[in-house]
């Protein structure tokens, strides 16, 4: 359990549909050159990026193995390869019903299940792929790759136990790298000493406190000068919702409008969490904060959260995305796009950042809170790029769980009345409707 195994990963945007992988596989497995004999398949759709893949993921908990009544399928605990013992297969095809990736099929002649076995660990298809669309990775590979990147924050910063922002900022700076100037305005990240305390610094890159109000402006000034002298240096903002959606909004808005080349990460913990949990404009309706308290007359915040990421879409940004630490791969992919986009203009990522301290839930529930926020559509994960000209859900939620399943995980919502919950559910439904309208069919 918990071991990371190899699997073949596909990057659809790199695939040109040449079929080399399928031919190579067919040759190796069947001695033919007929792509339909291959253990993987790539179908081309009408649009350039539309591709239909059929390929085994060598799942960690393979459903095909679990449903096989014949004991013919097994996952090697060492290599992770899911393989078929053809002599034991009776051809019942229950495995094909269990696999959502079309990764296993019945051999038309032998009437036995056949599937990719990674060629024992050195897959022919990957070697044959000239565009780099196919690669052999472990699920853990990604994490290991991230882990191998240098953590450019020092250890021992005084984040709260289970802080989501720490997770995000450390990962972010790892990926963005050392040729970077980091701005972290007053807020949790700065408050834990990200810029340093009393003469000691907390990062291995240049870092500074902008004002709560001018993060994007200051970065814009730095970037413009580096551009002027012909040096490519990345500008990274790690700001909270106060410095972004509230007093910092004008400078952000102006910088986005002017297309300043900045990666702006907003860590939205829905309030001023480092100074005693006061309300911000991204605090959701009904939430308790120290300035929207719960009493006889008032029951938490009376207004809905400002939908900042959507606002940023309409702001001349090159790239806008929402993210959540419960979906780190999703975040990393967005981060990579943001890095690219920031070479042309502003890349804005709005990271949902649950706060165990200020929201009142156990640190151990952090990821669960994130998952349920996404599963309930409280926090839809999407991205927009100016090039793509359309908004795209990266973790579509077709059957959202009721928002109360999310709300009741968190202390700041404990007092909510039925009417308040309904209001939040209505708001969530309405915002999803608006977002969907921005998706180009």
């Amino acid at each position: 359990m918990g071991k990371a195994y190899y699997t073949i990963a596909i990057q659809p945007e790199k695939c040109n549909g040449c079929n080399d992988c399928m031919v190579a596989c067919a040759q190796k497995k069947e001695g033919t050159t007929n792509p339909s004999d291959a253990r993987l398949s790539i179908e081309l759709g009408e649009e350039a990026l539309a591709k239909g893949f059929a390929l085994c993921r060598q799942c960690a908990m393979p459903q095909c193995v679990m449903v096989c009544p014949s004991g013919a399928l097994r996952k090697d605990e060492e290599t992770g390869i899911v393989s078929v013992d053809e002599t034991e297969c009776v051809g019942c095809r229950l495995c094909t019903l269990a696999c959502a990736y079309a990764g296993i099929a019945l051999h038309p002649k032998k009437q036995k299940a056949v599937k990719c076995d990674l060629c024992g660990g050195d897959p022919t298809c990957v070697k044959s792929c000239k565009t780099g669309a196919l690669s052999l990775v472990t699920a853990g590979d990604l994490y290991r790759r991230w882990g191998d990147l240098e953590d450019l924050f020092v250890p021992g910063m005084s984040f709260c136990l289970g802080c989501n922002s720490e997770l995000i900022v450390r990962h972010t700076l790892r990926r963005v790298g050392s040729n970077t100037v980091v701005a972290t305005p007053p807020g949790c990240v700065a408050g834990v000493g990200a810029v340093g305390v009393n003469g000691f610094t907390a990062t291995k890159v240049p870092v500074f406190h902008p004002l709560l109000t001018n993060t994007a402006s200051m970065l814009a000034g730095i970037k413009r000068y580096y551009n002027r002298i012909g040096r490519e240096v990345t500008m990274l903002a790690l700001a909270g919702d106060g410095g972004t959606a509230d007093v910092g909004f004008q400078s952000l808005s102006g910088a986005a409008e002017r297309g300043e080349q900045i990666i702006y990460i907003c860590l939205d913990n829905e309030g001023y969490m480092n100074t005693g949990a006061q309300r911000s404009s991204t605090t959701p309706f009904g939430a308790w904060t120290s300035t929207t308290p719960v009493g006889e007359a008032l029951k938490g915040k009376t207004r809905d959260a400002k939908p900042l990421p959507v606002i940023m879409v309409m702001h001349n940004c090159e790239y806008v995305a929402t993210a959540c630490s419960a979906f780190m791969e999703d975040y990393y992919q967005k981060l990579e796009k943001a890095i690219e986009a920031s070479k042309k203009g502003m890349a804005y990522i709005h990271v949902f950042s649950p706060c165990p301290t200020g929201w009142r839930f156990l640190p151990s529930k952090l990821i669960e809170v994130g998952r349920k926020a996404v599963a309930s559509n409280m926090v839809p994960l999407w991205e927009y790029s100016r090039e793509g000209e359309s908004l795209r859900f990266t973790q579509p939620v077709d059957n959202p769980i009721p928002v109360e399943d999310y709300l009741f995980l968190i202390g700041k919502y404990r007092h909510l009345s039925r009417e308040q919950i309904e209001h939040i559910q209505d708001m969530v439904n309405e915002r999803i409707r608006i977002l969907k309208a921005l998706v180009k069919e």
């Binding site: 359990m1 659809p12 398949s41 179908e43 759709g45 539309a50 591709k51 239909g52 893949f53 059929a54 908990m61 459903q63 679990m66 449903v67 096989c68 009544p69 014949s70 004991g71 605990e77 034991e88 009776v90 051809g91 019942c92 095809r93 229950l94 094909t96 019903l97 269990a98 696999c99 959502a100 990736y101 079309a102 296993i104 099929a105 019945l106 009437q111 791969e329 999703d330 992919q333 529930k365 990821i367 669960e368 998952r371 990266t394 973790q395 579509p396 077709d398 059957n399 069919e441």
Partner: protein, 419 residues
Amino acid sequence: MINTKYLLIGSGHAALSAIDGIRMQDENGPILMTGAEGRSPYSPTILPYVIAGRKDPSKTQLKDEAFFKTRKVIFMEKDPVKVLNSVMSRAYLESGKEVSYEKVLVATGAVPQVPSIPGLDDCPYEVLRTMEDALKIREKAKKAQSAIIVGAGLIGMHLAEALSSLGLKVTVVEALPHVLGTYFDEVSSQMIRQSFEERGVKILTGCLISKAASGDGVCALSLQNGIDLSANMLIIATGVRPRTDILDEYVKKDKGILVDNFMKTNVPNIWAAGDVVQCKDFFEDRMVLNGILPNAVQQGIIAGRSMANDNNVKPFRGSIAMNTFSFFGNKALSIGQVNGSDNNSDLKEDIILSSSSVRYQKILYKEDIIRGVISINTQLDPGVFLRLIIDQISVHEQKNLLGASSLKAGRLIMSARWR
């Protein structure tokens, strides 16, 4: 007395999946699994293949010793639970041992349902649920020339093919108007039937049995429509019922053990999964029996994770009827709601039918969402379609392509949703 944290009663797919479910969250909590037959775990689904000689009965084991060892599971192969005392959290085994558990999963599966037919009790009939049953039928079939199978469900039809392939003259008697009526519509059912009949299997549908008799190595059935049948073997394959007899009265049951979407019974530390449960239906608000292998696996995982306090476990989506069925080299598939005509008049059908060969496909939609699929010998990925149904993915744009080129369309839609 044996103490354990997790007791798993049964050794089928549900119980085995529960092991992995528990171990996702709890790496070391003691697990005890009890089997009834003194065999390595196997699947009843494989039994027709054993009878047909296509599967070596000694090679049916689903999991080897290493599986239990790496997962730290104690498997007592032949210690069936006799009674479960839900109040004391104790299981009393037939061997006389007592097991004290913190949490228990009841995955006792099902037992054959035998209809009451006058005279049947005196006949040497067979049922097929255990390996012993299979071996017995296989032995008998070696000496027999003919067999009557009562019930044209999956087991009955599987058996009919198996026995027919062994050279027996097979007659199938079914009370309902069609074979495999649960899974296939009239057209596809007729195609399957025709295929059987072409190979000499006699199929009598819409026939009720009035009495049974035996003597001289021959079993005889009288049907209500006046037909008399006789054969060397009589096999009853009229379905199964959940095996709930070990439970006391505190555990709520209807036809099966009633469970919620996390496979929990009304008793806080008792879970149930697999063929023994009665659970939510996927499409409709009702509690249904659930004798379907992939559902049992799903339930087992959910039950295991729930037992180990995994807060992120997603609830069971509800039982969906589904099966793959192979007959004489043909491939049939059924998922979800397949009959639009009955009480589901809002379903729309998209049908491809080939008259020249055995080829048929029907996709049922409710608006833009797929509700069911029947396929006989057409190309599609069953698992992809199952996922499209479960996730209720709107396929408005791709409807035409889904009907005409199901394999490609399904893969395109699914791939677009992966990351």
